[in-house]
């Protein structure tokens, strides 16, 4: 990471820690939602931005994670165990769902995952003995960790922020390892990666499963955050929204999901001044952005930076390279 990048992350971290002290509970709820959705978006970025697989299933994995945690904690499991179980379950399901990912790619995979999201929604809605159907699950309690109760909004925000930091650091580390390099190789040129002796089948599956698992962990925080979950929250709209976040932030950029999730959570709130029309404005803004800058906001920032330092060219690091895919 460049010095500028380190400084930017440092400033962002200070802002993230200081912000909740200046906000009302609803504001804290919003930035906690940002943290939670960022985790899911990081997972999708792994699948999409690094391994190059378009997935519309991330919302379903958030749902599976949320329902697992809600049901397991109400069955008496301690939160950390339920949290780990949600991640492991989504890893397993992602691995199994990933099999078709190897037979079909691109738009076909988008539709397989779209079908999966709809199936998960139907199961959540219809299997009332397990999920309570359309009535949802209410009264999900927030965890107490080592004597620290996260019941208050601000405590839960810091708990989520801590989880995000750990997961983001783990992802960062993984992307710099040979594994992560292999993911990028898959995206840039799968056939060359194969000819270099990479087991593309296993790495694609791995990227998809790890991405799904992050979706599940995001759901594991989502459930205690909103404290009431129902099938509609995890319908196709959430998967679309997560995809939007990754693309708007900049897919293939490590910090893209952070920026994208921030926009997706805050922009609709800011646009509420336009009353009923805020979704129209939001949709129009996305279309304009896609036409002007398809590599996302970080892609735009990188272009601006490059233009500013054209006189001192540096070798770009592989993991921050924009793609045209």
């Amino acid at each position: 990471m460049s010095r500028l990048g380190v400084m930017a992350v440092g400033v962002a971290a200070i802002v993230a820690i200081a912000t909740p002290f200046f906000l009302k509970p609803f504001g804290i709820y919003l930035i906690t939602m940002w943290v939670v959705l960022t985790i899911a978006a990081i997972g999708l970025n792994l699948t999409l931005g690094y391994a190059g697989q378009v997935s519309l299933a991330q919302g379903a994995f958030v749902g599976i994670g949320a329902y697992s945690v809600a049901l397991l904690t109400q069955a008496g499991w301690p939160y950390p165990a339920a949290f780990a179980a949600a991640g492991a379950l989504c890893f397993g399901i992602g691995w199994v769902l990933g099999y078709p990912a190897l037979r079909v790619q691109h738009h076909y995979l988008a539709f397989v995952t779209l079908a999966f999201t709809t199936l998960v929604f139907l199961v959540l809605r219809n299997e009332e003995w397990l999920t309570h159907g359309i009535y949802g699950i209410s009264g999900i309690s927030r965890p107490t960790m080592l004597g620290w109760s996260t019941a208050k909004p601000r405590d839960f925000y810091f708990f989520s922020l801590g989880t995000l930091t750990v997961l983001a650091a783990a992802t960062w580390w993984m992307l710099r390892s040979p594994w992560g390099r292999a993911f990028v190789a898959l995206r840039e040129n799968p056939i060359r990666a194969l000819s270099l002796g990479l087991d593309t089948r296993r790495y694609t599956l791995m990227a998809f499963a790890i991405g799904s698992s992050l979706g599940g962990l995001s759901g594991a925080l989502y459930a205690p955050l909103v404290q009431f979950i129902e099938p509609n929250s995890f319908a196709l709209a959430l998967s679309f929204n997560l995809l939007l976040m990754v693309i708007v932030g900049g897919s293939g950029y490590f910090f893209g999901p952070f920026v994208g999730a921030l926009i997706a959570v805050l922009l609709p709130e800011w646009l509420r001044v336009t009353q009923g029309y805020y979704l129209i404005v939001y949709a129009a803004a996305i279309m304009v952005m896609m036409a002007l800058c398809p590599s996302g906001l970080l892609g735009l920032a990188e272009r601006a930076l490059k233009a500013a330092q054209r006189h001192s060219p540096r070798a770009p690091a592989l993991h921050t390279e924009a793609t045209g895919s």
Binding site: A110, L122, A283, A291
Partner: protein, 291 residues
């Protein structure tokens, strides 16, 4: 048996509507690699063009013509020029995102500027039933089937029997080669967008009396179009027709005989089976691998 025939005919009618939507969807994909995630909303919208024209006092037949015309201009020409053209050079994914945003845009616009309530929509035929082999079949289903078959036939004749249609097929199969032999590729691509505009308008007229005109209609219809296109074969017009019909019939029969709760799941299971066993679709050709 009688109830089976009833279900079959109403399934065929629904399937024929799905087929129209799916055909437009695959046409766009073939000629311009546009995956239109707003296709369902494209079917939802023309019904409101027609209702708005009728609010101004136009009789239904005139309003329907205005609706089809507006749909060709707005959902064909304007969609292509304003949304698709600037995005194409960026590849498939940004355009996918853009059409997802467009679907939200259209849905919310109809909700805010027309109505969030389901609107009654005039039917093509009177609500009488006819008896066929003891089965009671509504005249509406038959009218829907008739119009859909006529539309598909007209499209088939256009694509296969006219020079224009062959130029369009050539554009779909190999744009570079088509350009070399002197086919105006850009104009052909535009024509497919206009045809899609007409197809969705016709589908809208057929489907709205059944489901009522509502801003959320596009969600299920768009999904049906994707499924039909993939089951039948993404790169074949015939495939989309077959996929649509299979989907409509299956949907009706499975809801009646298996489980109505999971009626939405059966088409998805077929989808997964098709993708695993025959990814190019039932009638599709294998697409070449891109390096």
């Amino acid at each position: 048996m009688a109830s089976f025939i009833q279900l079959l005919v109403s399934g065929l009618a629904t399937g024929a509507i799905y087929a129209l939507i799916a055909v437009g969807f695959t046409l766009l994909w073939q000629t311009s690699q546009t995956i239109n995630f707003a296709q369902g909303e494209f079917v939802m919208l023309p019904a409101f063009f027609i209702l708005a024209s009728m609010d101004f006092g136009a009789p239904f037949w005139l309003a329907a013509l205005i609706g089809i015309g507006l749909s060709i201009v707005v959902l064909g020409l304007v969609f292509k020029v304003i949304i698709v053209d600037p995005m194409l050079r960026h590849g498939v994914l940004p355009l996918v995102i853009s059409t997802i945003a467009l679907s939200l845009f259209l849905k919310e616009s109809v909700k805010d500027f027309y109505s969030s309530q389901a609107q009654p929509f005039p039917a093509l035929a009177s609500a009488t039933d006819v008896q066929v082999f003891g089965a009671v079949i509504s005249l509406q289903s038959l009218a829907v089937l008739g119009v859909a078959i006529a539309t598909v036939l007209a499209l088939h004749l256009l694509l296969n029997k006219t020079q224009l249609g062959r130029c369009m097929q050539a554009t779909a199969q190999n744009p570079t080669l088509a350009r070399i032999v002197g086919i105006p590729v850009r104009r052909m691509v535009l024509y497919t967008f206009l045809i899609n505009g007409a197809l969705v308008a016709i589908a809208s007229i057929l489907v709205s009396p059944i489901y009522l005109a509502k801003f959320t209609n596009g969600e299920t219809l768009g999904m049906a179009a994707f499924l039909a296109a993939i089951i039948g074969g993404f790169n074949q017009v015939r495939g989309a027709i077959l996929g649509g019909v299979i989907l409509g019939v299956l949907d009706n029969l499975s809801a009646a005989y298996l489980s109505s709760q999971y009626r939405g799941a059966f088409p998805l299971l077929i989808l997964v089976a098709v993708i695993l066993l025959r990814p190019q679709g039932l009638l599709g050709r294998l697409e070449e691998r891109t390096v």
